[in-house]
Structures are given as structure tokens and as C-alpha cells.
Symmetry: C2
Subunit: 199 residues, 2 copies
């Protein structure tokens, strides 16, 4: 490569990010040269901060710069409902929706014995602790409908059996706006199974 070392380093760094290949990395590295000094400083500092400042909320596991994340700190949230998600970014989606006002719990993964991820590898111990300590009445599992997701859901259901808490999971079915012609048979069969009376 005939670029100066700095640019080659930038290319290498961009290439480490998912979905960025040689050509895109090169384009991005050259685009960095056109960024203004302010952006460069913020970018450079934020990268450093990502390793230093960002940690997991001690209560729910969400990304935060403090001990508790801004949702756990928020006194207006409904502390009776807990929504269990796989990753922090799922919380952002739920918050964008704007209709859920309970608390969250981030698992940080799903049980997948084939990949060596066992129940003790995800944030389950903390979940049980929260059920014991906090005043939670309903645990909503918002986990993707895959083998790992189902396994995790069943495990959590079993784990919380002995507590006075309702465990529910979000509905799987046909997404709004989709044409039934294009829905795969598994989704369709799950949607059929989960049919509800029209009130």
C-alpha cells in the first residue's frame, strides 16, 4: 500500500469494524482527512472514552457512564414491570417506541450450549436477585424467536417459577404491513397458534 503510515493505520482500524471491507475502509480513512479539527478531537476522545467511561449498569446491565443507567435512575418508571432483552441496543428500540415505561434487564447474550454459552455466562444471577429484592410483578421476555431465544425464555420461566411474578413473552407473528404471501411457514404457524379472539 502506498499510503502514509497514519492512513494505513486508519484503514486497518476501520477494517476491524463489522461490515467494513478493504475498499470501504480506504474510503473512510481518506474521508477522515476532510473532517474538521473539532470532529477529529471529539472522535479521537470518544474512542478513548469508550474504553474508560462506558460500563454496564450495576442494576440492569444497560450501557452507562455512571453506576446506574439513566433508566434505572429515572424515578418515574414503573418498577412493577421488567422487560428482559438480549442486548443494550434493544433498549434504544423499545425507548423509541415510547409506550413502555417499566424497567429493563440486559442479558448480554442468549443461552447457547453449542457455542459454549451456558446460563451462568449471561446476566441471569442478577435477574433473580432483582426479582427477590425489587417489587417486580411482571417479567416480559423480549427475546428473539430462535432456538437460543426459546431456550433462554424457557430457562428464565423455570428459574422464576418459585417467585410470585408473572413471566410473559412478546408476541411472535406477522409484522404490521407485511403481505401474508411473503411470510415464511414457521412464522405463519406461530401466528396461527397465537391467534386471539377479536374483542
Amino acid at each position: 500500500m502506498n499510503y502514509p503510515t497514519t492512513i494505513n493505520n486508519l484503514i486497518d482500524c476501520f477494517k476491524k469494524l463489522p461490515g467494513i471491507g478493504e475498499k470501504t475502509a480506504e474510503r473512510l480513512a481518506l474521508a477522515v482527512l476532510d473532517l474538521n479539527e473539532e470532529t477529529i478531537d471529539l472522535f479521537s476522545q470518544s474512542l478513548k472514552d469508550s474504553k474508560i467511561k462506558i460500563k454496564n449498569c450495576s442494576q440492569c446491565g444497560n450501557l452507562t457512564e455512571n453506576d446506574l443507567c439513566n433508566i434505572c435512575q429515572d424515578k418515574t418508571r414503573d418498577t412493577n414491570v421488567l422487560c428482559v432483552v438480549e442486548e443494550s441496543q434493544n433498549i434504544v428500540l423499545f425507548e423509541k417506541m415510547g409506550t413502555f415505561h417499566g424497567l429493563y434487564h440486559v442479558l448480554g447474550g442468549l443461552i447457547s450450549p453449542l457455542d459454549g454459552i451456558n446460563p451462568e455466562d449471561i446476566n441471569l444471577k442478577n435477574l433473580e436477585e432483582r426479582i427477590k429484592k425489587e417489587n417486580i410483578k411482571e417479567v416480559i421476555l423480549a427475546i428473539k424467536p430462535s432456538v437460543e431465544g426459546e431456550t433462554t425464555a424457557l430457562y428464565i420461566n423455570k428459574l422464576l417459577e418459585k417467585y410470585d411474578v408473572t413471566v410473559t413473552k412478546i408476541a411472535y407473528g406477522i409484522p404490521i404491513g407485511a403481505d401474508i404471501d411473503y411470510i415464511d411457514p414457521i412464522t405463519l404457524s406461530i401466528a396461527l397458534e397465537g391467534r386471539m379472539k377479536i374483542s
Copy 2:
């Protein structure tokens, strides 16, 4: 947005790069959290260095960290041939090809009066100086075949008329491997015009 400030800052910075929208920026910012400390340090430092260390070669205008770029410093290059390109990244393409051993000259843009880019805005003065001072016998114009490219090529040809130097331009025509059925009429007409005797 429900991300910590550092992550929001990273998202903003990634979004400033070309071709990166909100969703991709979010994905990349979260992927940064999985990079190891070494990569983060290199990434952060390289961003800073891009503003401090990277400059244009005083001779050819190529990106470099020194006064002269590594091609201009290379004593084994053929100093009789000069390849004029629009941007530094074009040099990388030529170097990958591996069959050109002359020197380069980076214009840093093409003449485009409509966009307010006049001959004095691109690296032409330096080109004329080089023709005067260096022992250049042929100037190859490797500029894209567009209105701006053609204007620039004609201007350079005119500019160098008074010097004892041959000005050529790379061939425009049908790319190797392409099916003639899919070639646009302008390319086809240029390819026809530029036909050569089969030796």
C-alpha cells in the same frame, strides 16, 4: 437517544463520514465497544495524526508524512515520465497495477468553472514548474473522461505546449471483460474513434 454521551458522540462522528447513516453509525459505535484497547489507542491516535502528520508532498501533491512522498523519494523511478492524476488515491490504484514506474502529479481537483474551480485552484502552477525544472519527457494525463476531465486535459495540453514535452492521455474505451451489449453509446463512440490497427 438513550445511549450514554460517549456513544452518542461516536455515532455523531461516524455519521460525518460519507455513506454512513444513522443506523450504520449506531452499529459501528457499538462495535467500537468490542475493539481491544490496542486498536482503540491506534485508532484514536491515527485520527489525531491525520490532522497533524498528513500533508501533501511538496513535489507531487501526494499524501505524505514527510516533505517528499515515498514515490518522489524513490531513486529507482523513471523521472522522464509524469502521470497526472486527480486525487492521491488514484496513485494507489496505479501502484497496485505495478507496471508504471514514473512519477506522479496530483491535481487535487479538476477545472470546473460552474463549481467555481478555476485553473489557479488546482495544482497546475507546480506542474509547470516541474516541467521547467525536471527532466520530464512525457506527461500522461490519467484523468476521468468527464466534462471537467476533458476541460482540464485541454488546459494542461495548452499550458505545456511551449515546453519540449509530449502530452498524452490514457485510452478511453471498452473495459476488459465487458460485454459490448451493455456499453453506453458515448463510450462506444469514443472506442470506435480511438480504434487502432491490429499489429
